[in-house]
C-alpha cells in the first residue's frame, strides 16, 4: 500500500495546487460556502466566473473526451483535483447537476452534433442544466411519474408537473423523463428528453424551503413542445436512461458539508462547559471521536474505491454509503454543536453566532441531505438488495399497467 503519487500524478497535483492558490482563498478560517444558500444574481455570476476560469485552466471535465474540452484523464486525477480543491473556498452549487449528471447522460445518448453544441458551454459554465425527474406523485418511486408526452408529428407535447427541481429558475436546459405510454407497466412506458427551459408553456415557481431559501422549484408544463431529435434513448426506454443519470449521481463527488469534525473540534475549544473548554468534557470527546472515525472511514473508503477504479473496476452500489453516513453526521454534528452553545445556540445573527452560524444553518439545511438524491431508507434498501443480495420488496405495482396501480390521497 502507498499513498504516493506517480510522477504524473505529482506533477498534476502541483499544477492544481498552483492554480488554486493563485485563484481562490483557503477555506480554513474562512466563511463556509453554504450549499443551499439562496443564489442571488451576484452569487450566480461568481459561480459562472469560477467555472469558466477552472475550465480554461483545464481543470474541469478532467475525465471527459478531449473533443468536448476534457482531458481524458484517469479518474485518479479527478480525485486529486477534488482533494486539493477541498482546502479552498470556491463558489459552488450551480453546476454539480449539469456536469455530474446531465452531461454524462448526454454523452451516453445524444447525437454527436448535439454534443458539439452543448457540452463545452456546460463545461465553461455558460449554460446551466437541471434535472427534471421528481414529481408530486413520487421521488423515491421515480417510475410513478405522471407527466405525459404525446407524439405530434416531429415533436412531443408535454403536459404535467415536476417538483423539487433544483436550480430550474437559473437553468437554460434540463433533462426530463416523462410517460409516453400509461397502458404498460410503469417502468416500460417512460421516455427521456432534453429540453430548452425557455420553451413556451414552461412555468417555474420557486418553492420556499424550510431553511428559508428558495433553491428548488415546481415546474409546470402546458403543451410544451420538444422535438423528437432531443429524445435520449428509444421510446419506452426512459427508465434505462434514467438509471444512467442516477448511477452518475452516486458517483458525483459530494463535498463534505460543514460543519464537519474539524469545525466541531474548533467550537469545542472555544465554548466552555463547567468552566473548562468543552473539549475537556468526556461526553464531548466521545462524540468527536466517533464522528472523526466515521469521517476517516469514508475518506479511506473513497481511496479504496479509487484504487479499484484505477485497476479498471466500475464502482458499484457500495458507494451509497458515503451519502448515507454524511447526511446524518451533518445533522447530528449541527445539533450537538448547538447543544454546546446553550441557549445562545438559537441565535442566527451572523455577527453574534459562533462560527458564522454554520451550525444553525446546517441544522435547518441538513434534513434535505437525508432526502435528496436517494433518501436514507432507499439507500439502505439499495445496500441490502444490491450489495448483500436480500430479496427485493414484494411489490404491488410492477406487472400491472401503470393506469391500474393504486395511488394515495397525497
Amino acid at each position: 500500500m502507498d499513498f504516493n503519487d506517480t510522477p504524473e500524478e505529482a506533477a498534476f497535483r502541483a499544477e492544481a495546487r498552483e492554480f488554486l492558490a493563485a485563484n481562490a482563498p483557503l477555506k480554513s478560517g474562512s466563511r463556509p460556502v453554504l450549499r443551499l444558500g439562496g443564489m442571488d444574481a451576484a452569487a450566480v455570476q461568481r459561480c459562472k466566473d469560477w467555472q469558466a476560469k477552472k475550465a480554461d485552466a483545464g481543470f474541469a471535465g478532467l475525465t471527459w473526451p478531449k473533443r468536448f474540452g476534457g482531458k481524458e484523464a484517469s479518474p485518479i486525477l479527478q480525485v486529486i483535483y477534488n482533494q486539493e480543491e477541498e482546502d479552498y473556498s470556491v463558489p459552488r452549487g450551480l453546476f454539480e447537476i449539469g456536469l455530474g449528471m446531465c452531461m454524462p447522460t448526454m454523452m451516453a445518448y445524444a447525437k454527436p452534433e448535439q454534443l458539439d453544441r452543448y457540452v463545452r458551454p456546460a463545461l465553461r459554465g455558460e449554460e446551466v442544466w437541471c434535472q427534471l425527474f421528481s414529481e408530486p406523485a413520487g421521488g423515491s418511486d421515480l417510475a410513478a411519474l405522471r407527466t405525459r408526452a404525446e407524439r405530434d408529428g416531429d415533436d412531443w407535447v408535454i403536459n404535467g408537473q415536476k417538483i423539487w427541481t433544483s436550480g430550474a429558475h437559473l437553468s437554460d436546459f434540463g433533462i426530463i423523463v416523462v410517460r409516453t405510454d400509461p397502458n404498460v407497466p410503469k417502468h416500460e412506458g417512460l421516455s427521456f428528453f432534453f429540453l430548452d427551459m425557455k420553451s413556451p408553456g414552461i412555468e417555474i415557481r420557486p418553492i420556499h424551503q424550510m431553511s428559508g431559501t428558495r433553491h428548488f422549484n415546481e415546474v409546470f408544463f402546458t403543451d410544451v413542445r420538444i422535438p423528437d431529435t432531443q429524445r435520449l434513448g428509444g421510446v419506452g426506454q426512459g427508465w434505462k436512461v434514467s438509471i444512467t443519470t442516477l448511477m452518475n449521481e452516486r458517483l458525483a463527488v459530494g463535498e463534505v458539508a460543514r460543519p464537519d469534525v474539524d469545525d466541531l473540534v474548533a467550537l469545542s475549544r472555544s465554548v466552555m462547559v463547567d468552566g473548562e473548554p468543552a473539549i475537556r468534557n468526556g461526553a464531548v470527546r466521545e462524540r468527536i471521536a466517533e464522528w472523526y472515525a466515521r469521517s476517516q472511514g469514508l475518506k479511506f473508503t473513497r481511496f479504496r474505491m479509487m484504487t479499484a477504479m484505477s485497476k479498471g473496476e466500475t464502482p458499484g452500489p457500495e458507494n451509497s454509503i458515503a451519502k448515507l453516513v454524511n447526511a446524518s453526521k451533518l445533522q447530528d454534528i449541527a445539533s450537538f454543536g448547538l447543544d454546546l452553545m446553550g441557549n445562545a445556540g438559537l441565535v442566527v445573527d451572523e455577527d453574534m453566532a459562533e462560527a458564522y452560524a454554520m451550525f444553525q444553518s446546517a441544522l435547518l439545511s441538513s434534513p434535505s441531505s437525508r432526502i435528496a438524491g436517494g433518501s436514507d431508507e432507499i439507500l439502505r434498501n439499495i445496500i441490502a438488495e444490491r450489495v448483500l443480495g436480500m430479496p427485493s420488496d414484494i411489490r404491488v405495482d410492477k406487472n400491472k399497467p401503470f393506469n391500474q396501480v393504486p395511488t394515495g390521497a397525497r
Binding site: E290, G297, L388
Partner: protein, 368 residues
Amino acid sequence: MNFDFSDDLKQLRDQARRFLSEQCTPEVVRRSLDEQEPYAADLWRAMADMGWIGAAIPEEYGGAGLGYEGLCVLAEELGRVVAPVPFASTAYLAAEAILAAGTEAQKRAWLPKLAEGSVIGGFALAEGTGNPSPNAIRARVSGGRLTGTKWPVADGNIADIAIVAARDESGEIALYLVQLAGVARRELKTLDPTRDQARFDLDGAAAEKLPQAVGWSVVQRVLDRAAILMAFEQVGGADASLQMARNYALERFAFGRPIGSFQAIKHKLADMYVALELARSNAYYGAWALSADAAELPLAAATARVSATEAFHLASKENIQTHGGIGFTWAVDCHLFYRRSKQLGLALGGAPFWKNRLVDLLETRNAA
C-alpha cells in the same frame, strides 16, 4: 495511490481462508468454549509451520518477513473464524514489545522461538479493573525480581514468557521479560472461554528488563500497534457475523416470505455493512501506517480501534437479533462472535479509553 493489498497478499488471504475453514471449524472453537482445551494446539503448530506467527518478524530473527500487511491479512482471517489461539498475545504484543524495547541479544534469544511457535508469549499490563494508565502500574522490580499482581492476562496460563509492565527502582515504568515457569498463575472464568485468561501473582519472579525503550510511551507504542492488528481481527469477526446474518435472513421464512425481505431486517443488515466498511477502511489505513512506520500511526491506530470495536459489536449483536430465538442458544454460533467481540473490545482498553486517546492525538495534531 495504491490503497489495497497486493495480489500476493490477497493470495495469502485466500489460502489462509481456505486453510482455516477446514482446520478452525466451529467444532475446534467449541473445544475451547467447552473448556476441553485451553487453545487449539494443533492449529497453533500448523500456523507456526506456515510462518504466520512470525509473519512480521524480520527474517534475521527467524520470522517469515511477510511484513505488517501480511500480518494484518492473517489477523482478519483469524478473526473471521474466532480462532482459539494465542496469536495476538504472541505476535502483536510479546514480539512487538521485544522488537520495540529489547536488546539485540534479547531479540536473538526470543523472537525465533516465538516465530516457530515453541514459545508462547503473553503481555501483562492490567492490574485489575480499569483501563490502561501509567497510574495503574504498581508492580515493581528490584534487584531483577518482579513483585505484583497482574490480571487479566490473555493466554497467561498457556504462555511460556510474558512481557510485564512494572516500575524499576526509580519508579520509572519499563517492560520486563519474565519466564513463567514457577510463577503462581490462576485460570480466570471469563465472558469468552475461547481465549485463556490468567491472574499472575508475581512474588519476586526473575525479570529481565527490555532496556532499549522505557516509560509509558513504550507501553502505548505496543498498544497502538496491537490495536491496528486487532482491528483486523475485529473486522474479520464483523464480516463473518454479517455473512451469518445475511445467510440466515435468506433461508428463514416468516409470514410466508424470507425475513430478509422485511425492511426492518434489510436496514439492520445495511447498517452492519456500513459500519463494517468504515472499519475496514480505517483498518487499511492502520495497515499502511504500520508498514510505513508512519508518524500518523498513533492516530490511525486509535481511529481503527474505535471503528472496529463499534463494527464488531454492532454486527455480533444484530446477528443474534436476526436469528430470533435460535440465536440465543448455545448450539448456534452467534454467541461465539458476540463473546469474542467483547473480548477484543476490552483487550487493549475499552472504547472510552481509545476515544479519549483519539481526541488527545487530534488536539496535538491540530496544535502542531
